[in-house]
Assembly symmetry: C2
Homo-oligomer: 291 residues x 2
């Protein structure tokens, strides 16, 4: 009994917004998708690829008649978009987002929307370093988690409709408080991104004996830093919006790094092997290696 | 005019040693390969898979008649192996290794070998987190760099023979001083490994709201920490043998991380975006992403 949306507005037709639009259309849960965004060329690609039916050029046009509005822009742009949409939206429209940070964003969205009960925070845990409508794929969410973060204000009906949308595109939907989401994602996503960016930044232009260090990079460095190819603007917003939890994750990471460093510096072979063995076991449990 | 080796001893028939044995056999540059190592089961796999012709159970048996001896054990074990082989080896045998650290290791190998001119330090830059004879593949070195680090002591003939061996298995061979190798590899390999181990170590058993953080890991964290599934003993040895260069790489990484952290903490959106944009450009130049 999947609810059918008449018209979906997707604001930000990139990897996530574009994939959701495509997957929702293919699943038959939405009749029409309107794309809205900053970059005309990206919207044209989205239309050419059939992710969206039509490009809107004004906020009023974007949300006119829409019964679901998906904010899929960088986290820092979502509240501005919501404010620009609010005067033109149907009173019963459901507003949801796909941001990697939920607490501050969902609060701000509720504050900016005339019917705050219709705001449902969401985060499909399915990113990659790729971006843009070019990268969108209908199967992006299949089997992946989508975390919804309803508040005391959230209307049960709005939550049910957003849940049904994500289920229809193949996601495993899970609810949790926004603060818990932000703490978990700071650890498994925001911290690794900051570390990967720092790692490549520290290698920029490093030379030894007249040779450029990065010319000797193997698959290990490439894997370790792949997510540093993610759009800077996206991760600027996420880091800033989740700074306190990211700070806690960074502190724990520094403690772990300092500990390994101290074992190396002191030449403690058995202590170092023990610490690396524990870390390795954690990584092997995580899966997705050839070990 | 590839020199043909009569008999190759491979001490440590893992990913690298096993792949070299297999590739050298397939390339027809070696007539017979003798495997030597600590783990009987691994050696049996190597024989069953056709990586080696025969298993040696004593150092004397391992190197008897061998004209090339490949030390493919963890860095910390190589000098002990060389010492155990020396009394039994042919005087004209070439001794080479595949260690990820060269300076201290090559010096120690030269000091432990009766004909130090026959010692040629080597490092095929082609690892992965996989290990053991199971993981060996004939194409592992194809198109990959193999760095040789001859010293003033190295005999030209020995160097030429080792160079020919790596060329025969498809590697791009490059020579440089051991100190330069160690500085470069500290940056692009040893540092990322330590960072990856620290990252997973810092996530072990982290929970929020009763949920296990690692249950929410996506492909980003998996990529970033894949190399932390590498054998602990290998990386213990490498980190300890290259501690000074690794320390310099770590210092630069900490500086880069502190800078990003300061931008996040101070809420400097434009400064953070600029720093992430620079880092992203470095990563994109490195290649191997879907961006």
């Amino acid at each position: 009994m999947t609810p059918r949306f008449e018209r979906m507005c997707v604001a930000g037709v990139g990897l996530i917004g574009g994939s959701l639009a495509l997957a929702a259309r293919q699943a038959g849960v939405v009749s029409e998708v309107i794309g809205f965004g900053r970059t005309a060329r990206n919207l044209e690609i989205a239309r050419e690829r059939g992710l969206i039916d039509r490009i809107a050029t004004t906020p009023a046009d974007a949300v006119a008649g829409a019964d679901v509005i998906v904010l899929a822009a960088p986290v820092g742009a979502c509240v501005g978009l919501a404010r620009s949409f609010a005067p033109h939206a149907r009173p019963d429209a459901v507003v949801t987002d796909v941001g990697s940070v939920k607490g501050t964003l969902v609060n701000a969205l509720e504050a900016s929307w005339p019917t705050p009960g219709n705001v449902v925070g969401g985060h499909p845990v399915a990113g990659s370093e790729a971006s843009g409508a070019d990268a969108a794929r209908a199967d992006l969410f299949r089997g992946r988690a989508c975390i919804l973060t309803p508040t005391d204000t959230t209307a049960a009906d709005a939550l049910a409709r957003v849940r049904a949308l994500w289920l229809a595109v193949g996601a495993r939907v899970e609810e949790m408080p926004a603060a818990v989401h932000d703490e978990l994602l700071a650890r498994v996503s925001h911290l690794p991104h900051l570390v990967a960016y720092a790692l490549v930044a520290s290698l920029d232009d490093v030379r030894a004996g007249g040779r450029v260090a990065l010319d000797y990079a193997g698959s290990g460095l490439r894997d370790t830093t792949r997510i540093a190819a993610s759009p800077a603007e996206l991760w600027r917003d996420i880091a800033l919006a989740n700074a306190p939890a990211l700070g806690r994750a960074l502190a724990d990471f520094r403690t772990a790094l300092d500990r390994l460093d101290a074992l190396v510096t002191s030449g403690d072979a058995s202590g170092l092997e023990a610490a690396l063995t524990v870390a390795r076991a954690v990584r092997v449990r995580l899966g997705g290696t050839s070990t």
